[in-house]
């Protein structure tokens, strides 16, 4: 600790004019085109940008860990006063063991599956120079410090026996073993639930205060960056385009790219009725692309001739705030890229029902024990309505979606009917009309599109399967379909791997729409996409829904997204609906304590830290759901014994607004008042 204070003058990390290329098919292609930044002692520095802009490459370069075809062509990386590029293998190893560590995006695969978690942690201490006899105790103490429950038990477990949140705590403990000067966090919470994410972020904050570690934080989530970082750098196409104090940069952006990124985010309270989301058209220049002038010129709404010939410098625009733009003073006047008319969504027809679910139960078996994934769901979805479904992982969102499409049979007594007619439980027993009426858009278009089929084949097959068209008619429909999702006809002969994530998802959407469905289930359709692409996909989904007046069940863990697109929202916990109501009503107090906690946990650019509510611990096992109200074990507003003994009914507290809670709504309204005031303001 004292050593760190003594060295307070040397920055933790100093990257100067870093250029890096990857050798692909015999040619060096530049991925990082000159990046300069400094992380001071004890500072938390965030790097943001779309995927492919070089965030992770910079992070790994800071550990001098590059794939075999990667090469640093110029620049310097000085960590803790030492020039990393001049080090030999052994010095580098020492540096990694003692001065810099990393926390990875996917903790599940970052831990060795065949070595006990405790042994892996002990190994980190030993490498950092702790004596073997002492390492065990230090490891245990570190697990306590990362606030893992049952640290002694965790030591003897394997990675697969831990939940995602616990795995990430273990990885963080490993990274802190050496008390490093610099901690690099590469999208550390991207795969985690909002509630778990909030906890992990809190933990990182507290540990940073305790250890005084400097942090390089990589994230595509601007809300997370706003919460975690002192300063932020915006990377675009391997170039730093804007840099500044986090709050200043995110509230007063001075580069059109940052302005565009911020506009893509469906913020609190934003909904489709208020207009389409803004997008950033086009793609970042690929690695190795020759760039003349400003790197962002091709996608910029403010582009002038000078932008294409002369690259702007990273010029100061405020205190510690710099922007690489010729027109940084008018960056915020960036015209909206979404030229669509405001999509006027259809008003859901009440009275009739598109989908009706009654007493849906599903018992699943896993390794001998059985548990209720869905414990009696009742739901009506009107034609033209978007029903949003939120909840942590394990809450039953996906099981509900799968039951509706007919994958896996629900328990006896469950009823699902489509437009008033009962639906057979399994997709194989449904008629072709029933099958085509309910379609699904998957989270991961990579995994759900046949890799060997060109787009034309993928869509053609779906058309034949669902509608029975052949030959010329089919070919014509394929083109119409691709037009409806704004997929360029030239891409019809491409294979999925030749498409970007957003384009792939367009194919996935086109496939779902091939049979003119009445109900489309969107299972986290934008979770794997960048915010700019997400905005475009959401706009597309809204437009398709408006044009065809169909219904969606929209599943997402991103509350801003759900709020934006949904007419009504259901909150699911351990297979039970805890709250159902119109989107704006559910998002506004009074709401169920679980909804309140979910909303509070979500990283956003608006909610202030001091108002956050924390849920502690993991979701209880569905095999042994808690007695009474299933949420009572984590509920911050638990009133007493009644919560443990009696399951509250899903009661209609206001017209159309149902809450499953013992606390009377008036009491909730009073309790949640401060948040309500803040939401409005």
């Amino acid at each position: 600790m004292s050593e760190k204070l003594g060295a307070a003058q040397t920055p933790a990390l100093q990257v100067t004019d870093l250029k890096l290329s990857y050798r692909v098919r015999g040619r060096d292609r530049e991925a990082i085109r000159g990046v300069t930044f400094t992380i001071n002692r004890g500072e938390s520095y965030g790097l943001v940008g779309e995927s492919g802009c070089g965030k992770s490459t910079v992070a790994y370069a800071a550990m001098r860990y590059l794939p075999s075809n990667g090469k640093i062509t110029s620049g310097t990386i000085v960590l803790d006063g030492r020039d990393m590029l001049a080090m030999d293998g052994d010095e580098l190893r020492q540096l990694r063991a003692k001065a810099v560590s990393m926390v990875y995006q996917n903790p599940g695969t970052a831990l060795n599956p065949t070595i006990r978690v405790g042994d892996q942690l002990v190994e980190s201490f030993v490498t950092a120079g702790v004596h073997r006899h002492e390492a065990g105790e230090r490891a245990l103490a570190m697990l306590r410090q990362v606030q893992i429950s049952d640290p002694t038990g965790v030591m003897s477990r394997y990675a697969h026996q831990l939940s995602g949140g616990m795995q990430q705590r273990v990885v963080i403990a490993m990274a802190l073993a050496s008390d490093p000067t610099l901690l690099i966090l590469d999208e550390p919470t991207t795969g985690l639930d909002a509630t778990v994410e909030a906890e992990v972020l809190d933990l990182i904050r507290n540990l940073r205060a305790t250890f005084g570690t400097s942090v390089l934080f990589i994230s595509h989530n601007l809300g997370v960056i706003a919460r975690m970082c002192d300063r932020v750098g915006v990377l675009y196409a391997g170039r730093m385009v804007e840099e500044g104090p986090a709050w200043e940069l995110l509230t007063n952006p001075r580069h059109p790219y940052t302005v565009g990124l911020l506009r893509c985010i469906p913020r609190w309270g934003l909904s489709k009725e208020l207009g389409a989301l803004d997008t950033i058209p086009g793609f970042p220049p690929g690695i190795g692309a020759a760039v003349k002038g400003c790197v962002f010129a091709d996608r910029c709404g403010l582009v002038q001739d000078i932008c294409r010939t002369k690259e702007p410098g990273l010029d100061p625009v405020g205190e510690g705030h710099a922007s690489r733009c010729h027109f940084s003073d008018i960056a915020q006047t960036l015209p909206s890229a979404e030229r669509d008319m405001v999509p006027r969504p259809p008003v859901p027809e009440t009275g009739r029902s598109a989908l009706s679910i009654h007493n849906l139960r599903r018992t699943m078996r896993q390794q001998g024990s059985s548990f209720q994934a869905l414990a009696g769901i009742d739901l009506e979805i009107a034609p033209g309505e978007v029903f949003g479904l939120v909840g942590e992982s394990g809450s039953g969102k996906t099981t509900l979606a799968r039951s509706v499409v007919g994958l896996g049979a629900p328990d006896a007594g469950s009823e699902i009917s489509l437009e008033g007619k009962p639906l057979p439980a399994k997709v194989g027993q449904r008629s072709r009309d029933q099958v085509r009426a309910i379609q699904i858009v998957f989270q991961n278009p990579d995994a759900s599109l046949n890799r060997r089929h060109a787009v034309r084949q993928i869509l053609g097959r779906a058309l034949t399967k669902l509608t029975g068209v052949h030959g010329e008619q089919r070919a014509r429909r394929v083109v119409e379909l691709s037009e409806s999702v704004r997929l360029d006809a030239a891409l019809l002969d491409a294979l999925p791997r030749q498409l970007s994530g957003g384009l792939k998802q367009r194919v996935g959407i086109a496939r779902a729409f091939a049979g003119e469905p009445h109900l489309v289930i969107c299972d986290e359709p934008t979770s794997a996409l960048d915010v700019s692409v997400q905005a475009a996909i959401l706009n597309l989904l809204v437009r398709l829904q408006r044009d065809r007046n169909l219904s969606y069940i929209f599943i997402s863990h991103d509350l801003g997204v759900v709020r934006y697109i949904s007419d009504r929202i259901g909150v699911l916990y351990l297979g039970r609906l805890m709250e159902v109501g119109p989107a704006d009503v559910v998002f506004r107090a009074p709401h169920h304590p679980y909804t309140e906690a979910l909303l509070s946990a979500a990283p956003s650019l608006e909610v202030r830290e001091e108002h956050r509510i924390r849920l502690s611990g993991d979701v209880p096992s569905a095999a042994k759901p808690p007695s009474g109200c299933v949420f009572h074990t984590r509920c911050p507003r638990k009133t007493g014994a009644i919560c443990e003994q009696e399951q509250p009914p899903l009661a209609e507290e206001e017209p159309g607004h149902f809450i499953r809670c013992h606390i009377p709504i008036e009491e909730l309204r009073r309790l949640q008042k401060p948040e309500a005031a803040k939401e409005a303001g």
């Binding site: 550990m63 860990y65 190893r93 020492q94 540096l95 990694r96 063991a97 003692k98 560590s101 990393m102 990875y104 996917n106 695969t109 970052a110 831990l111 060795n112 599956p113 065949t114 070595i115 190994e123 980190s124 490498t127 950092a128 394997y158 697969h160 026996q161 990885v171 490993m174 050496s178 390794q367 001998g368």
Partner: protein, 317 residues
């Protein structure tokens, strides 16, 4: 874990039963009457009928099957028609010889090929990798009888370093026995080397490219420790499963090699049985080989699940 094992054992038993039905029906589908074949084409039909009756081959198929499988379960494998000794005696001797040959081949090929695969993966894309992968594949692609002949010609006849005869007196000391078994095991080594090395290499590369290996490197561990502690254990899991499965082939599938070297193992025994239409021997022999195969597969499953905590610990907690 116990459930998993019981399921596997049950599955193996069902497989064996299916095998017994197939081999029983297949041997009855072979043309020709058993009694006629034994007594010759000019025998009196009544004598043939009498013999058929005494052998029991004139009874309904189902009865014959039940008698046969009942005897098999009780260890009564019947008499060999061509050797006129109990089938069990022949099989036991053959199996013993086969196990010896398999053991010698196994001891040579397993360490060699695993080491080869590891080296190839660590030197991926370099010359040594190319030599191991391309060489291994070529050797695997060559039929055993070709490599056998070449090896006999080169090692025994030209260079005279290994004895051409593989039959040693049973009272010879173990070293002499092993010495005589090296030559016939070499073609097996050539067949298996490429295969096992390839699986090892693939497993290694997957483990080397994994996130946990990256974690280990970025922890600042020396490369040796990364490979030995973090990579190998995960990389060798598929290899061990494959090796265990190959034990079945080594013991039961060596018809060509054993015939080439005139080695009296179970493969050669089966070959003789088929050419002599010695049904009791064929049936019992095939069943024995089946049991060896399934035993080896079971062993593979067990060793794999012991190494993999995901399976070992499934169902707990």
């Amino acid at each position: 874990m116990l459930r998993f094992l019981l399921r596997r054992v049950a599955l193996a038993l069902v497989t064996l039963w299916v095998l017994s039905v197939i081999i029983f029906l297949a041997s009855h589908a072979l043309p020709g009457d058993v009694g006629r074949r034994i007594l010759g084409p000019f025998a009196d039909p009544r004598a043939v009928a009498t013999l058929d009756h005494s052998l029991g081959v004139d009874r309904p198929l189902l009865v014959q099957y039940l008698t046969w499988i009942g005897g098999f379960v009780h260890g009564d494998l019947g008499m060999s028609l061509s050797f006129h000794v109990p089938v069990s005696q022949l099989l036991l001797r053959g199996l013993g010889n086969s196990v010896k040959l398999a053991a010698v081949a196994f001891v040579i090929v397993v360490p060699l090929s695993i080491f080869g695969g590891i080296v190839a993966a660590l030197r991926r894309g370099r010359l040594l990798d190319r030599i191991i992968t391309v060489g291994g594949l070529s050797a695997t692609a060559m039929p055993e009888f070709v490599t056998s002949i070449v090896l006999i010609l080169v090692l025994s006849i030209s260079l005279k370093v290994l004895p051409i005869s593989v039959q040693v007196p049973p009272d010879a000391d173990p070293l002499t026995q092993i010495y005589h078994l090296i030559l016939p095991s070499l073609p097996l080594v050539l067949v298996l080397f490429g295969y096992i090395a390839r699986i090892t290499r693939a497993g290694m590369i997957e483990a080397l490219e994994s996130d946990y290996t990256r974690t280990a490197v970025l922890k600042g561990l020396p490369w040796r420790t990364v490979v030995i502690r973090h990579v190998l254990r995960n990389a060798l899991m598929p290899t061990i499963a494959v090796v265990a499965t190959q034990t079945g082939y080594l013991i039961g599938g060596l018809v060509v090699i054993e015939t080439m070297f005139n080695y009296q193992g179970i493969g050669q025994l089966l070959f003789t049985a088929v050419s002599q239409k010695d049904f009791p021997l064929i049936q019992a022999g095939v069943m024995t080989v089946g049991i060896v195969y399934l035993g080896a597969t079971l062993l593979a499953d067990i060793s794999y699940s012991l190494l993999n905590p995901r399976i070992r610990l499934a169902g707990r907690e």
